[in-house]
């Protein structure tokens, strides 16, 4: 008979799992870490290739040459921006109309839940300006979007200048099969969110905006341009979007192919590709690039203006021009040619990009790791949780034993933990006025410190709630609770990893060791310390420090702490403004789960 249907063999298997439970869990954990780090090793990765036939191997000859015109337009834009103190709407409308586009504007306003100290805004009011280049012969069913942000100060003037020059050049061509929308958005992501919501007739974030007067069909792809200097040394590609969503890999392949063709240096995560994969430095370089991508994806922010397009199934990427300390510099005309080539290739598309991967990690621009290769790393961590579920002493029948603790006993810690989670989610924003009244802090600090306070208050829960419970201080009680909590954590992390692998993996790496090994019989002080140090909040703190290390801007502890607080405030703002799901996930699900294990630790 089979392995699992034969009672003898089943007993032998369970005995094996029982005896070697801890060693197997350790091996699985180490294997997961090693597997993850090994993903960046070049022989284990695949070379990127263009999967979409319509964007095939033929290139066209790019003829864009109006670099000078782009720069003069940039200067004009800058001058008008200073004069208007914001977006120079009339000048932009006139400039786009002079180039033969159909121009429309959209005004929007939004009151943030609390002031954003990083960008120094609270009541945001702005206007988006966009011009539509109609395809000469095609029906108006599909569109491409090219956007440049209108940023305060000296940034991104050249991007708008290049946008206008490209619009003029494109207007003279007759081979466009899709409409092209040239969008200049104000207040970066907020303006972009307003425009996208207006375009798709949705309102998911409570923004107020005027409806869009002009429309161009369903958007197939979008490119966002950030250019702040007249000459550049390299182009950086930004792919990570909201909630860790990534565009189709074909877009990155397209960018890379054109960079190769025009001889432009291209980077990802700001790092240039290296050829020496068999040396230690080469491997660490690739591993650092991949770790940066993982961290950026895990935090669920949109790292460029393109990130908000992904929610609407529009493949989008941001291209940022960087002026570094290199000898060889490129002018705006080259970037214009690159964009012309990319848009012309996107013009050839007949369907949305779907042939290549949607889930991948990039250790460099020319190598990628697909979901089939990186998911086992998470799978090994999830297996640990499931192995612990089958830990002995958790006899199957006690759960239904009426004399033992019922479901109700377990329910109490669960409910209280989740109520704390709800408090962590709702109270910081709602109680900010009260906090500002009583304490000498600004609103942002009030929100963040309230969140930290509620988080810490949760640590005191077990002592208080156990007074409410009656007659449960038995061995069976905590085992049932641990069973529930382990299953809950496994399901939670599994679902998270499917949507946002990086977030799931980062949480699993810190949560799985402590939760798998947590029992009330361990030394209290030491395990309490371990639990706190590996709690979700500290995970975020470690990620902040690692991120700063990886971008070669290491911070001291004090600065790290301030960064940590700003990360929390940004997380809450992202959730309120754009619908990012990281903060609700952490507050409403991960934190209560961790609290349940904290309850188990202090079970008495």
């Amino acid at each position: 008979m089979g392995l699992l249907s034969d009672p003898n063999r089943r007993k032998a298997l369970t005995n094996l799992l029982t005896r070697l439970n801890a060693p197997i869990c350790m091996v699985c954990y180490l294997a997961a870490i090693v597997w993850f780090m090994g993903l960046a090793f070049e022989p284990f990765t695949l070379r990127t290739y263009m999967s979409e036939n319509a964007m095939g191997s033929t290139m066209v000859e790019e003829r864009f040459s109006s670099g000078e015109r782009a720069l003069s337009l940039a200067k004009e834009f800058d001058a008008h921006k200073r004069k208007a103190g914001g977006m120079p709407v009339e000048w932009l409308v006139k400039a786009m109309q002079a180039r033969g586009l159909e121009v429309f504007t959209q005004s929007f306003s939004r009151k943030l839940p609390f002031p954003d100290e990083n960008k120094e805004r609270y009541m945001v009011r702005g206007t988006n300006v966009y011009g539509i280049l109609r395809a000469p012969r095609a029906p108006r069913t599909e569109a491409l979007v090219i956007t440049a942000p209108c940023s305060p100060g000296n940034s991104d003037n050249q991007a708008v200048g290049l946008l206008l020059a490209l619009a003029q050049y494109f207007r003279n061509q007759i081979f466009w099969a899709k409409d092209i929308i040239f969008l200049v958005n104000e207040h970066d992501l907020i303006g972009m969110q307003a425009w996208l919501e207006g375009y798709h007739h949705t309102n998911i974030t409570g923004m107020e905006y005027s409806p869009l007067q002009g429309r161009a069909g369903s958007i197939q792809a979008a490119l966002s341009l950030e250019l702040s200097s007249d000459v550049i040394t390299s182009l950086d590609l930004i792919l990570e979007g909201l909630n860790g969503q990534l565009p189709n890999l074909d877009l990155a392949n397209l960018f890379y192919a054109f960079c190769q063709k025009l001889g432009v240096l291209c980077t990802i995560q700001g790092k240039l590709q290296r050829n020496d994969w068999d040396t230690a430095e080469g491997y660490t370089h690739a591993a650092q690039t991949m770790m940066l991508m993982v961290l950026k994806q895990a935090c669920g922010r949109s790292w460029g203006d393109h990130g908000l397009f992904l929610r609407y199934h529009i493949e989008a990427a941001s291209i940022r021009g960087i002026n570094g300390f290199r000898h060889y510099k490129m002018d705006v005309a080259t970037i214009g040619r690159l964009l012309e080539g990319m848009v012309r290739k996107l013009n050839n598309l007949l369907e949305r990009l779907h042939q290549s991967y949607f889930f991948y990690l990039l250790p460099s621009l020319s190598r990628f790791v697909s979901i089939g290769y990186y998911m086992p790393a998470f799978g090994l961590l999830a297996v640990i949780l499931l192995l612990r579920v089958s830990f002995p002493g958790l006899d199957h029948f006690t759960f239904f034993n009426p004399s033992g603790p019922g479901v109700l006993t377990v329910l109490t810690p669960v409910v209280i933990s989740h109520l704390t989670g709800v408090a962590l989610y709702l109270l910081p924003v709602h109680l900010q006025e009260m906090a500002v009244e009583h304490f000498p802090v600004s609103e942002t600090e009030a929100v963040v410190l309230t969140a930290v306070a509620i988080y810490t208050a949760g640590l005191a829960l077990p002592h208080n709630t156990q007074r409410l419970l009656s007659g449960e201080g038995t061995e069976q009680g905590w085992k049932v609770l641990k069973l529930t909590a382990l299953l809950y954590l496994a399901v939670l992390l599994g679902c998270t990893a499917l949507i946002n692998f990086s977030l799931g993996f980062v949480l699993a790496v810190t949560l799985v060791p402590i939760t798998a090994s947590m029992t009330p019989h361990m030394p209290k002080a030491l395990s309490a310390l371990a639990m706190v140090l590996l709690s979700p909040a500290f995970t975020i703190l470690y990620c902040v420090f690692i991120y700063q290390e990886l971008i070669e801007a290491p911070v001291s502890v004090g600065e790290g702490w301030m960064l940590f607080l700003s990360v929390i405030s940004q997380g809450i703002l992202d959730h309120a403004l754009y619908g990012s799901l990281v903060y609700p996930l952490l507050a409403l699900f991960i934190y209560p789960c961790w609290l349940m294990f904290w309850n188990i630790l202090f079970w008495s």
């Binding site: 033929t58 066209v60 012969r137 095609a138 599909e142 081979f175 050839n348 369907e351």
Partner: protein, 362 residues
């Protein structure tokens, strides 16, 4: 699916050839009426061969041209109303006098095999040329079938059966089948009718390669095999004596994949078959200054012509065909065997678990 070429019988002149061109290129399953712009070269291939054949004398009434895409009027064509087959846009093969019989969505397997209108009016003295270009299966795989419009296929068996039906109804004298796709040789593997010659641009497992990209239009303009084929055809004029062996060897060494040819079914020696038998319309004209008396019997003075007319190939060498090439059929196990097998299974079941379970079933 009925696939008989049931055409009206028309009296045609000696040696007039009716070629069929088919371009079966993929169509997107999209709602939009956009085409696969990157398959520009298939249309350019077909139009170039069409032009060569017209140049060699075949009239439009004897040509069926099927183009599945409209490249000339595609929104992405920087030079609308033109299709170029040579880079630097030297020669517009679309022109003013192209007569497309089936265009766009009309190019289907059914219209190819059983056309409702614009039929091929051929009889048993016609030589037919069929030129197919397009995609077999996916771009990297699949052999034995040719895609029509991305939603239909014609398999090599269907083609072979269609040609057999044509043969049975005496619709052709000799047939030349040229296919320029990846793994093209798989399409002629199953032919079994006589007097068929087939040429393909690549063997099974090989891909057919494109030839020239044009940087202004942004697509490849022609496939390698067709390019060399046309180069060869440019040198052919109506009085040319080039034969099939020259055609077969035109591409053998210059491209990286190996074109295939299948001449087993052909009754005549390929070396003795003129290119113009298929590609051109050649009238045999004998100029004489003598008067020929047509009322008397043609024994004297026209012995040559009589002997010529007697050198026709045997139309229905039935005996040879029947004994040499058996019809291929898929083997099914006999019905009795299946019945016995199930009875055995039921008996074993009831024996193991007891006859008392029978009452639960009946």
């Amino acid at each position: 699916m009925a696939f008989s070429l049931d055409t009206n019988c028309g009296l045609l002149n000696h040696n007039i050839i009716g070629p069929i061109y088919c371009t079966s290129t993929i169509f997107p399953p999209d709602i939009l009426i956009t085409q696969f712009w990157f398959n520009y070269r298939h249309v350019a291939n077909t139009l170039s061969v069409y032009r060569s054949v017209k140049r060699l004398g075949i009239p439009d009434s004897h040509i069926v041209l099927m183009l599945a895409d409209d490249m000339a009027c595609n929104y992405r064509n920087p030079k609308p109303a033109t299709v170029f087959s040579h880079k630097n846009m030297e020669f517009n093969v679309y022109g003013d006098d192209v007569e497309v019989d089936y265009r766009g969505y009309e190019v289907t397997v059914e219209n190819f095999l059983t056309p409702r209108s614009k039929r091929l009016l051929s009889d048993d003295r016609s030589n037919i040329l069929i030129y197919l270009t397009g995609q077999t299966g996916n771009s990297h795989g699949g052999n034995g079938f040719l895609k029509f419009q991305d939603s239909e296929e014609i398999s090599n068996m269907e083609l072979a059966d269609a040609f057999e039906q044509m043969w049975q109804k005496r619709r052709y004298n000799e047939l030349l089948f040229i296919i320029d796709t990846c793994q093209g040789a798989s399409m002629y593997e199953r032919f079994y009718s006589p007097n068929l010659m087939a040429l393909a641009s690549s063997q099974v497992g090989e891909d057919s390669l494109s030839h020239q990209p044009d940087l202004a239009i942004g697509v490849h303009l022609m496939d390698k095999y067709t390019f060399y084929l046309l180069e060869f055809l440019e040198e052919v004029h109506p009085a040319s004596q080039a034969n099939m062996n020259d055609l077969v060897s035109v591409c053998a060494h210059r491209v990286s994949v190996s074109p295939g040819h299948h001449t087993d079914l052909f009754q005549r020696n390929p070396g003795s078959v003129l290119i113009t038998d298929f590609f051109g319309s050649v009238r045999k004209v004998e100029i004489t200054k003598d008067t020929i008396n047509l009322t008397s019997s043609v024994k004297s003075g026209s012995g040559d012509m009589q002997i010529e007319s007697l050198t026709y190939v045997d139309q229905l060498p039935v005996a040879e065909i029947i004994h040499q090439k058996p019809k291929q059929k898929d083997w099914h196990p006999p019905d009795g065997f299946i019945l016995g097998l199930w009875t055995l299974i039921l008996l074993v079941f009831f024996q193991t678990y007891g006859i008392k379970h029978l009452k639960h079933i009946f």
